[in-house]
């Protein structure tokens, strides 16, 4: 059955890739699991270093990408799942794609990003060595209901694996509370930097204690509800992280910080901006350290890492350069705006809001984006996407002058308009939701570049 499952899935994978029918990201896995429901488990058992799973609201894709770069630097052959296919079927497709007919795998280790809702199915089948939870924010809540329910779903998926190491973000009180579900070893990561703090109260998605419901207190708050928290009532308190980052300095297109591993302390200058990317890098470094990767590979990979597919990408439109930053929820949007405005200069920004299933069908989160926190005077906006009217209205209520606000539902025309607004040599910014990002890429990124997001085995030297 296993051979049949892999064989048929491989044929489908081949056909779908040749014909470009959905890129072969989910169908082969779906079919393989239909033929042999244990196919994922059987193949993953053959991986020398096992399976690493990254879940949580924000940063899954970029963390997985940075980790893959570190592991590749160290000489590992890494199997990943393509972003956007982080449901069980997509993972099955990646595994059968990398498996030989006898069921052995060409890779040493698998790094999978997994959607919160499918965690229990995936942990049961894959029996991962390491699971990391990045953070829990409101994202696509229309899919999962309330945030506490999402936490409970992840929590239950962590129960029953005493051999598994769970890595939790110490700064996120809701993620930290998952420790109650864990039976094996727990490692914490977080920021140890009292200089970084925000007074924006936006995206405080989990501001009350999970155990007693009392409002949490913060010694310093880094972003949203992430920070050095404690409950004044039941006295729960943030765990001091095992691996941490301090001495953070942020600029519009890069960041620098000090990374404290178990023994070494590394000074890193990284070509990714924003505190959220420092969290991603720290998460990846924490996993790599646990796997046994040395400081030189971590340091080298972080100094040259790139953001994941569409998360941050420089595109060229009519000879002008536009930096595209994916936004999915208020936290991400606030962080993108913080990076864009870190030099306090007026900008030209496109905000493209789609409400398709992959974006989350509830767009009310735009009212939780703290536009009011930034000085938007003189910044020009282009509102687009199938909910262009909604984002235009949000910007109106953030006091964007109507002469500085263009609304154009068609994403291609809107992007050309944004390019037209730019002066010679000026960089524009584009904040699209997921399906809007995919549409922008389909118009303005060449076909060759689009193919590189397929699930693949990354080998050293390639």
């Amino acid at each position: 059955m296993k051979i049949l499952a892999i064989f048929i899935a491989k044929i489908i994978l081949f056909v779908t890739r040749i014909t470009h029918l959905g890129g072969g990201t989910t169908l082969p896995g779906l079919v393989a699991t239909k033929i042999d429901k244990n196919v994922i488990k059987k193949i993953s058992e053959r991986l020398k270093y096992g399976v690493v799973i990254i879940t949580g609201t924000n940063g899954k894709t970029t963390t997985a990408k940075i980790l893959t770069e570190i592991l590749t630097e160290e000489g590992f052959s890494v199997l990943t799942n393509p972003s956007g296919s982080n449901l069980a079927r997509g993972i099955a497709s990646s595994l059968v794609g990398a498996a030989t007919l006898s069921g052995s795998v060409e890779a040493d280790i698998a790094v999978f990003e997994v959607d919160e809702a499918t965690m229990s199915e995936v942990t049961t089948q894959l029996r991962p060595k390491i699971v990391l939870v990045t953070n829990l924010f409101r994202d696509q809540l229309d899919r999962y209901g309330e945030l506490d329910k999402t936490a409970a779903i992840i929590g239950k998926s962590l129960t029953g694996f005493s051999e598994m190491t769970t890595i939790l973000n110490a700064d996120d009180p809701l993620v930290s509370s998952l420790s109650d579900y864990v039976e094996g070893r727990i490692i914490y990561y977080g920021l140890e930097d009292t200089e970084i703090s925000t007074d924006s109260t936006a995206a405080m998605d989990s501001k009350d204690c999970m155990f007693c419901g009392h409002e949490l207190e913060y010694e310093s708050r880094y972003l949203g509800h992430l920070g050095r928290w404690k409950c004044p009532n039941c006295r729960r308190i943030r765990t001091k992280p095992h691996i941490w980052v301090s001495e953070i300095s942020l600029e519009p297109l890069k960041s620098s910080y000090s990374l404290k591993l178990r023994r070494e302390e590394l000074k890193i200058e990284m070509p990714l901006p924003g505190l959220y990317n420092i969290y991603n890098a720290l998460a990846a470094a924490t996993i790599a350290t646990l796997i046994g990767v040395g400081a030189p590979a971590i340091s080298h990979a972080l100094r040259s890492c790139e953001a994941a597919f569409g998360r941050m990408e420089l595109i060229e439109v009519s000879g002008k350069k536009i930096m595209m930053l994916l936004v999915k929820n208020p936290t991400g949007a606030n962080q993108a705006l913080a990076a864009i405005f870190s030099d306090n200069k007026a900008k030209k920004i496109g905000f493209y809001l789609n409400d398709n299933f992959a974006d989350g069908t509830d767009i009310s989160w735009i009212w939780d984006v703290d536009f009011e926190y930034f000085d938007l005077a003189k910044t020009k906006f282009v509102a687009s996407g199938n909910r262009a009217e909604d984002i235009a209205l949000r910007l109106k209520y953030a006091q964007v002058d109507k002469n500085y606000l263009h609304s154009e539902k068609d994403i291609m025309i809107a992007t050309e308009k944004l390019a037209e607004l730019l002066d010679e040599g000026e960089i524009g910014y584009l904040l699209p939701t997921y399906t809007a990002m995919v549409e922008v890429r389909s118009h303005f990124v060449s076909k060759d570049d689009q193919l590189c997001d397929m699930g693949k085995v990354t080998k050293h030297g390639i």
């Binding site: 009350d208 419901g213 299933f357 989160w365 939780d368 909604d390």
Partner: protein
């Protein structure tokens, strides 16, 4: 003469889901654009605050966690809030706020969380989440408001409200609470596509997030007018604003509600 209204925002931290803050932004901006001073008082758990100077109350939705603590605190303010509503001050309550302004909320475990009985309504936790775009016909309620106040609203009340619902609680209205409207598209109070929301005097309850007020500007203005009437004792005419974008967004959302898929978990 320059006018002013004072909004008391109940539990801005604990009760703010799905962009409910957008309602406060809408109220604040539409006052500011008319040179009406808008003051907001945040009421948090345990705060010693007296409501004597309040002209309007707002309470958003919250997660199930903390609902009990919010309820305990809210009950201490029950008389003050009831008196305000009885004497005509407007209130807007969304989702969890709507539920706690009713008589009680019965959780899935069977616990009863007591409400402050502004609305003759009871809510019982359902077993699926009702999620999606909503269009509500509220022509019955608005025509009653117009008759009742006999005042000229600057804009004719629209007959539709548009928003986004995400709840599992099922609310049944008693005889002393009228439905805000009937569902054109969506699930509504009981998940049956029947009634949506409720109103008593000038207090409104609804399941509509979205945010509700920005895309339904005439309702924002109605609340501002009611607050001014409450504060100054007579109708104060509002300046007309350019609502082109609001109307476009309202219409687009109505269109989208017709085409977008809804789901329930």
């Amino acid at each position: 003469m320059s006018y002013k209204i004072k909004l008391y925002h109940l539990y801005p931290d604990a009760m703010n889901l799905y962009g409910d803050l957008g309602n406060v932004i809408a109220l604040s901006k539409r006052c500011q654009w008319r040179n009406i001073e808008f003051e907001k008082v945040d009421v948090k758990i345990g705060d010693k605050i007296d409501f004597a100077d309040a002209d309007m109350i707002f309470m958003g939705g919250g997660q199930d966690r903390g609902q009990k603590i919010v309820s305990n605190d809210l009950l201490k303010r029950k008389n003050e809030i009831q008196n305000l509503v009885e004497s005509g001050a407007p209130a807007l309550t969304i989702c969890g706020g709507f539920q706690l302004f009713g008589k009680y909320f019965k959780t899935q475990k069977g616990d009863e969380i007591t409400g402050i009985e502004v609305f003759d309504a009871v809510t019982i936790a359902g077993d699926k989440r009702l999620i999606g775009n909503v269009v509500v016909d509220i022509s019955v309620a608005t025509s009653k408001w117009v008759q009742k106040f006999k005042y000229e609203m600057i804009e004719k009340p629209q007959t539709t409200l548009v928003g986004f619902e995400n709840h599992s609680g099922l609310t049944t209205l008693g005889p002393n609470c009228e439905p805000l409207g009937t569902v054109v598209k969506g699930y509504g109070n009981k998940g049956d596509g029947g009634y949506e929301g409720g109103w008593y005097k000038n207090a409104l309850g609804t399941y509509l997030h979205g945010s509700l007020l920005p895309k339904n500007p005439w309702l924002t203005d109605h609340l501002i007018e009611m607050a001014l009437m409450y504060r100054y004792g007579s109708p104060i005419p509002l300046d007309k604003l350019d609502d082109k974008l609001e109307i476009l967004a309202h219409k687009a959302a109505v269109e989208r509600a017709k085409t977008a898929k809804t789901l329930s978990l």
